[in-house]
Amino acid sequence: MITLAGSKRLVLILEDEALIALDLQDELQDAGHEVAGPFTACSAALDWLQTATPDTAILDATLNDGSCHSVAVELSRRGVPFLIYSGHQEDKQLLADFHHITWIEKPIPPAVLVQECQQLLVACG
């Protein structure tokens, strides 16, 4: 398991819109965090998760290879807090079995997204 000293945390990004993913990555790095990914498909994120665990994650609800459900399940199993960043209200149905999900509607300023991420980390210690 990778843990980082101080407030520098490892954030996994799962997002298939490259521009959005890269912008988010820059914003997180500017805020002093490390980024795992960005991954554009669940399969790539799950591969990475075989050998590492992030401190938190930002997941787009629907990826090229389907819903982010499988990744959300794996993160929950490990107790990793994550948030869903999606443009679709209807995606909520895909993740109906997660009760305490942080759901953020696209688009919002990346800085706000980074703040939300940090709040998740604080809340979970």
């Binding site: 298939d16 521009l19 443009g87 209807e90």
Partner: protein, 384 residues
């Protein structure tokens, strides 16, 4: 009663079209028609009654009693002859009538002798077949039996009319449902694209901001990128937001150079439609390449020009697009001092977004950009 000299007022192709419009051929038996033939047989006291429809190469029975067949070839059809005559056709003895004596069902088994058929006629007067009764012995019908048979044939026709109206209504309902489904898909797709476009624009703000030295530079670059994006969306909108032609995307960027006396660019490649997922990033890439060429490359000097060439190829992974942007005649090119948004887009966004393999080479004689990208064939909303 037979009159062979009456010319038909319809064409056989129109008659067949009318018959098929009732959508009745090869449908299963239905009580409404079964009851009519039973009534006809009972009234006329014959062992056989049929509702016979004359198709192109056969006569088909919507209902029958006593014959045990659903269809026969036309050379066995007595109704074919009766259908061409107005009203009711009665043949007291088929063996004695030269037109029917050689009919296999008359000369051989089951040795039919008597025929009476009332023509089934559409409201436009086009005959479709007949409601007929048959017997194994020569005989005749009483006036009452004859008029009842005629009434029953009109009754059969009104059931045909009714079922055609129902079938047409069902088809209209189905068409309306299809339009509704398409509409729902379009609205959902529109919503998706708008949200995505807004998120993309937001990412563009961030990326342009990070690579701009001044507000003026930011404003100019950002506005240019937005209008390039808008032009690609225009092309997509022409096809319900599905695909855009590559040549047109390139022309959107290079059009300002189309009017010059010396050719400033060449577009060489087959016609290819890019799906929205590919058209947007490729459009942005061509925008960055053009902007770069205008500022530092071949389009910054009057003698320079750009050659954009593409090919389609098949590989094990499906259809691939290979595209090359090459600049000639510009000022000498060196490695760029810093990585701007343009190079991020070419070298990171394209591979991530489109699974593209890209190569950017800063040759002294001009920039060369090459890209190989899989063409995914996917329409979210079906084409008309």
């Amino acid at each position: 009663m037979l009159n062979n000299n009456l010319p038909p007022v319809w064409k056989e192709s129109d008659r067949l079209a009318a018959l098929h419009s009732y959508r009745v051929l090869d449908t299963p038996p239905e009580p409404a028609f079964d009851n009519l033939v039973q009534l006809a047989a009972r009234t006329c006291q014959t062992p056989i009654a049929l509702i016979s429809l004359i198709d192109e190469h056969r006569q088909w029975f919507k209902a029958e009693t006593g014959l045990g067949l659903r269809e026969t070839s036309l050379d066995r059809s007595i109704c074919l002859g009766a259908m061409l005559l107005p009203g009711l056709t009665i043949v007291p003895d088929l063996q004695e009538d030269p037109r029917f004596a050689c009919n296999p069902l008359v000369g051989g088994e089951p040795h039919l002798r008597f025929y009476a058929g009332a023509v089934l006629r559409t409201p436009d007067g086009v005959p479709l077949g007949a409601l007929c009764v048959l017997d194994y012995v020569p005989r005749d019908l009483t006036d009452e039996q004859a008029s009842t048979l005629t009434m029953l044939s009109r009754q059969a026709m009104s059931v045909f009319e009714l079922r055609r109206a129902l079938a047409e209504r069902d088809e209209r309902l189905e068409a309306a449902r299809q339009i509704e489904r398409r509409q729902t898909l379009l609205v959902r797709e529109l919503h998706h694209r708008v949200k995505n476009t807004l998120a993309t624009v937001q990412a563009l703000v961030g990326a342009t901001g990070r690579s701009s030295g001044s507000f003026d530079e930011f404003y100019r670059s950002f506005s240019d990128r937005i209008s390039s994006l808008a032009k690609t969306h225009n092309l997509l909108t022409e096809d319900y937001w599905q695909t855009a032609p590559l040549r047109q995307i390139a022309l959107n960027e290079l059009k300002p150079f189309a009017e010059s006396r010396q050719p400033r660019f060449m577009l060489i490649g087959p016609s290819v439609e890019l799906s929205a997922d590919l058209a947007v990033p490729v459009g942005m890439a061509l925008h960055e390449l053009t902007t770069n060429a205008i500022r530092y490359g071949a389009l910054s000097t009057p003698a320079g020009y750009v050659r954009l060439q593409w090919h389609l190829g098949e590989t094990d992974d499906g259809r691939q697009l290979r595209l090359e942007w090459r600049e000639f005649g510009g000022p000498p090119v060196g490695q760029p001092q810093h990585r701007g948004f343009g190079s991020t887009l070419l070298q990171r966004v394209l591979p991530m977004q489109c699974n593209a393999k890209v190569e950017v080479e800063y040759h002294a004689e001009g920039l060369r950009f090459r890209m190989q990208v899989p063409l995914v064939k996917q329409r979210l909303v079906p084409a008309y």
